[in-house]
């Protein structure tokens, strides 16, 4: 069963690959529900559910599980935000953002993380799950930001704005859950490590972005405009990647893989 549970993982990877291939070739499904990506998300959910049951903890520990959950959350965020005809163009970059972490996960060790005592709490799943959901929305923000910068469109602008708002909300809730977990598990809701600092950087970045929307364009330098806002929304994904992968892989932290 331990090996068999990876079958839906591989099928989801194939579905995401097919979606990205079709999108890059300019072939779009008639609706999102009839897309390979939608099937991939269902398979992916089945895989995560199976792995949760087998490992005894939420499948969000270690690099493999983190990458595959990241991919899943990017796909879910896309399904939430990119449902209309106007926002469908975002699926081209977004399908790649869904595929890459899943493909990365496919290349690394897939053994299950043991059920360490610290993982035996609902705060683990809520903290990591909500954080990755936030990351997923920020990924959708990158895709929508790129589309807006290339072709514009009010619906794309609004969807990109929602990506930052939903991502910020999910990420904030994830930070709260993480603080509660850390307080009960390690005795402090905050510790000074690069990961924690970068998590607050992500939070401040998107909090600031949410405020910049209200600076009138004519209100002097920096002359905040929709294009600049969309550029910053897209760039936010870079901050997220630095936090998720850069810090976890390069700097010493309680969240290192």
């Amino acid at each position: 069963m331990e090996g068999a549970h990876l079958i839906p993982f591989w099928l989801a990877l194939a579905a995401y690959g097919a979606e990205a291939g079709f999108r890059l070739a300019g072939v779009a499904p008639s609706s999102v529900r009839k897309s390979p990506l939608f099937a991939g998300v269902l398979l992916h959910a089945a895989f995560l559910g199976l792995r949760w049951g087998l490992s005894g903890h939420a499948p969000m520990a270690g690099l493999f599980e983190s990458l595959t959950v990241f991919s899943f959350c990017c796909a879910v965020a896309g399904l939430v935000l990119c449902r209309s005809e106007e926002t469908a163009a975002a699926w081209k970059p977004l399908s790649i953002l869904v595929l890459l972490p899943q493909a990365g996960a496919a290349l690394i060790d897939k053994r299950m993380t043991p059920p360490y005592p610290a993982l035996d709490t609902p705060w683990f799943a809520t903290h990591v799950g909500l954080s990755f959901l936030g990351y997923g929305f920020f990924a959708a923000g990158l895709a929508l930001g790129i589309v807006y910068l290339r072709v514009g469109g009010d619906a794309v602008y609004r969807a990109a704005g929602r990506s930052a708002l939903y991502g910020f909300s999910a990420f904030s809730a994830g930070m709260v859950c993480g603080g509660i977990w850390a307080y009960y598990a390690w005795g402090s809701y905050w510790i000074w490590t690069p990961k924690e600092i970068w998590s607050v950087i992500v939070w401040i970045y998107f909090a600031t972005l949410a405020h910049l929307k209200f600076i009138p364009a004519q209100d002097g330098w920096p002359g905040w405009t929709k294009r600049l806002e969309m550029g910053a929304t897209a760039a936010g994904y870079g901050v997220v990647l630095l936090t998720f992968l850069g810090v976890s892989l390069l700097l010493r932290s309680s969240h290192s893989f």
């Binding site: 929602r162 708002l165 005795g187």
Partner: protein, 245 residues
């Protein structure tokens, strides 16, 4: 008036946010370069650590000055903005939608101020090691702790599946609290949380456990403010969705 405009300006918010991001990014790298300076940062409350290390060796801790200044400016900006807007809102039409961002501002201020309280008035007592049946003082609290019993369940691969310690806290010779401490389940007494951090076997074969005792007087307020922030944030999403539908 110029100062008030600066403090309530969205551009000030933007610059403070940018300054925080830059200072934090620099700090995350500097921390790794000076492990001897930053390694014990979590072993005591921040104010005590900063008073010793921040002033004695300012160059590698410059980023912390920037981080603190940016956080302070961010908080003052949120407070002034909310004060100004609330006056406007209560002079006009009061709606939940208009109030929610300011509830979030106030909750954010609650987190910052409560964290300040913890950073100044908190306490950290790391590394209280006790063999089973033995006693150890809990820092300067006047409490002593006895490890009554230690239990560990190990997986065949050698990693711990579960471990717990039954402890009794004494003041003078009187037992004042008794309970089981395990990961994610500390024992709280007189504002201190007792956390099990490590375990092993003494040279004479008895099990021992290592505990931290921490006091965070702002923790409850931080939790309340964080939950308020989250609730206001989630409520803010719904009207937004309807408006954009």
């Amino acid at each position: 008036m110029a100062l008030w405009r600066f403090l309530t300006s969205l551009k000030t918010c933007a610059w403070a946010g940018l300054a925080f991001c830059v200072a934090g990014a620099v700090g995350s790298v500097v921390m790794g370069r000076y492990p001897e300076l930053f390694a014990d940062m979590d072993a005591q409350v921040f104010a005590g650590w900063f008073a010793r290390k921040g002033f004695a060796d300012p160059a590698p801790t410059l980023w912390l000055y920037g981080l603190l200044l940016a956080t302070g400016l961010f908080a003052v900006n949120a407070a002034c903005c909310t004060f100004e807007r609330l006056v406007q809102i209560f002079r006009g039409t009061v709606t939940l939608r208009r109030l929610l961002p300011h509830v979030m501002h106030l909750a954010f201020l609650g987190v910052v101020l409560s964290h300040l309280v913890s950073a100044v008035y908190g306490d950290r007592i790391p590394g209280v090691a006790i063999p089973q049946g033995g006693f150890a003082p809990v820092g300067g609290t006047g409490l002593a702790m006895r490890l009554d019993r230690f239990d560990a369940v190990m997986a065949p691969e050698g990693y711990p599946i579960d471990f717990s310690a039954t402890v009794t806290l004494f003041r003078d010779t009187t037992a004042v609290a008794r309970g089981v401490v395990r990961t994610n389940e500390p024992l709280f007494h007189e504002g201190y949380g007792i956390y099990i951090k490590n375990f092993g076997t003494t040279p004479w074969g008895a099990p021992y456990a290592v505990f931290d005792a921490n006091r965070d007087p702002g923790a409850t307020a931080i939790l309340a403010a964080s939950l308020l922030f989250t609730a206001a944030n989630l409520l803010y999403l719904f009207p937004s969705r309807r408006a954009d539908a």
